[in-house]
Amino acid sequence: MLLRSVLIAAALSLFAAPVAAQVAAPAVNPPATIVIPEDEGGLSGTVTDESAWQDLGIAIPAFATNRDGPTPANSQGTSALGVELARVIFGDLRNNGLFRPVGPDSLPRPSYPQITAPAWSTWQGRAAEMLVHGYVRAGDDDRLTVGCYLYDVQLQQELVREGWVVAPTDWRRAAHKCADLVYSRLSGESPFFDSKIAYIAETGPKDNRVKRLAIMDSDGANHRFITNGQATALTPRYSPDYSKIAYVSYLNGYARIYVYDIGTGRQTLVTESPNPTFAPRWSPDGRRLLYSMAVGGNTDIYSVSAAGGGSPQRLTDAPGIDVGGSYSPDGSRIVFESDRSGNQQIYVMNVDGSNQRRISFFGGRAATPEWSPRGDQIAFTHIAGDLRIAVMSPNGGGLRHLTDSWQDEAPTWAPNGRIVQFFRTQRNSGETSIWQVDLTGRNERRLATPVGASDPAWGPVLP
């Protein structure tokens, strides 16, 4: 039942088209002193990381509503929903190292007319350089219209605005879209909050681990288990349009790649073969799948039509283990891992398998390469004693470590190529958790998941 409603939500969300944000604001400017006293609080109360360069203060008070009415999105009505929307935006914008946001729980709440005519003096007195305002309205069809405004408090000027109409179940997406709008306008980077993650949920002792395919939003919300854990599931990858997930399952006793259709709940084998297949990877256009297949102990990389049909194309034939692979954003090249030199190193080839050449020459082993969606970096696991997340340029230069822990592996990129997610394994217990770090390596944090978590795979920004 849960599955159904989430599926419907996912389908409806595709129709969440942006609309011009407009508020039927009264012509009269209300007094600038309207403040809800119990919501008052200091600006510094929620700031934990005081890095000097994290200095852009952003106030994100509760979103206003034209009329506090019932909505399926919140049992307490649209006014309470307005607080939740601002909390989601606050959660998105903190911890990424660029901003010092303050959320609705420590700020006065603006009135509906103030959304388009901010009470400047209120915000100037709070050392907020930027101000996010927004509103939520429930339509007769229950659909929500959410408007989002970003103001420069110093200049007393609107910087950007946008609005969205969403199904009530998709209210968080509207908040993520607003956070993306603010992030993009202030950082100059592409958005990434309105996106999803597929991963493996882990429970049970180390020698009898139960591993289930699961999905969640980029902030951990809307979590859902997809498989029941009877068969071990590994290494999922969302298709670029989020309609399918390719992953490895021991469903029939052996490792095989299945493509799970989120709409129908059915899954198919990526290729019929008596040999194990693993390490599935989508092409950027979603039309092809890379997979690795072991034949007689020798593993090579193949490419096959994701729609089914057509014969697989073998891309590598070196003796040894050629495994994984990640397409360049333009789909012309593939970065992959091979131990043909004696141990795991990283190679690049053209999409047809030609021109294979090694790019990693810095000592240790190098594994699980993932090409940044921006094309300028390759994230990978550097094995030199410990396992650490690192990045390098596509020609193998500019090695930089982003993490320093006992065992961090399997990086996956945020859709905008500014943040890398990976999983961390605890020594002895083997417990796993998903973490993310920005490209400076300075802002690292753990994602909240219901149980242990590994093999994260971040999908693109939702349309």
Binding site: P205, D207, R209, Y254, F278, A294, N343, T381, G430
Partner: protein, 169 residues
């Protein structure tokens, strides 16, 4: 090579008993039963010949071979164990076998799947070279997904880098 392999096996045995003392509750992994071949009652009460239980009893630990880090070569001790496995498989000609390949936790997941496959195949190929028909042996890799030794140390990793033969009938 020989000396190293023996040392590994001994250390493994020590680790196992240590583990048992500390935490007997969460030990038993499914396929391998640890029932040591008790020397007392011989023929009639024992396991049925040709079964997995009988096989593990007869092998006395030689159902498993061990590998060095990132390696998949079959050394002299492995050869001795595989010879014994091959003799058993030839004695019970209707028995089929699966070789399970494993890796330790200190590698990346997908590479370890390939590595486990490679180790299982190395064991299978040796059994075939001794005359066991290839179509009686399947292989499966579990990569680092099914450790038997639960610590994060060299001894535990040495025990987990293994190929285990299981008989089916």
């Amino acid at each position: 090579m020989n000396k190293i392999a023996i040392a590994v096996t001994l250390v493994g045995a020590l680790t196992l008993s240590a583990c048992k003392k500390e935490a007997p509750a969460d030990l038993p992994p499914p396929p391998q039963d640890q029932t040591a071949p008790t020397p007392t009652p011989p023929p009639q009460t024992g396991p049925v010949p040709g079964t997995q239980e009988h096989f593990t009893q007869q092998m006395q630990g030689r159902d498993t071979i061990y590998f060095d880090t990132d390696k998949f070569d079959i050394d002299a001790e492995d050869q001795a164990a595989l010879r014994q496995q091959a003799q058993y498989l030839q004695q019970f000609a209707n028995v089929r076998a699966t070789v399970e390949g494993h890796a330790d936790e200190r590698g990346t997941r997908e590479y370890n799947l390939a590595l486990g496959e490679r180790r299982a195949n190395a064991a299978k190929n040796y059994l075939v070279s001794l005359g066991v028909p290839a179509n009686r042996i399947t292989v499966v890799s579990y990569g680092k997904e099914r450790p038997v030794a639960l610590g994060s140390n060299e001894q535990a990793w040495a025990r987990n880098r293994r190929a285990v033969t299981i008989v089916l009938n």
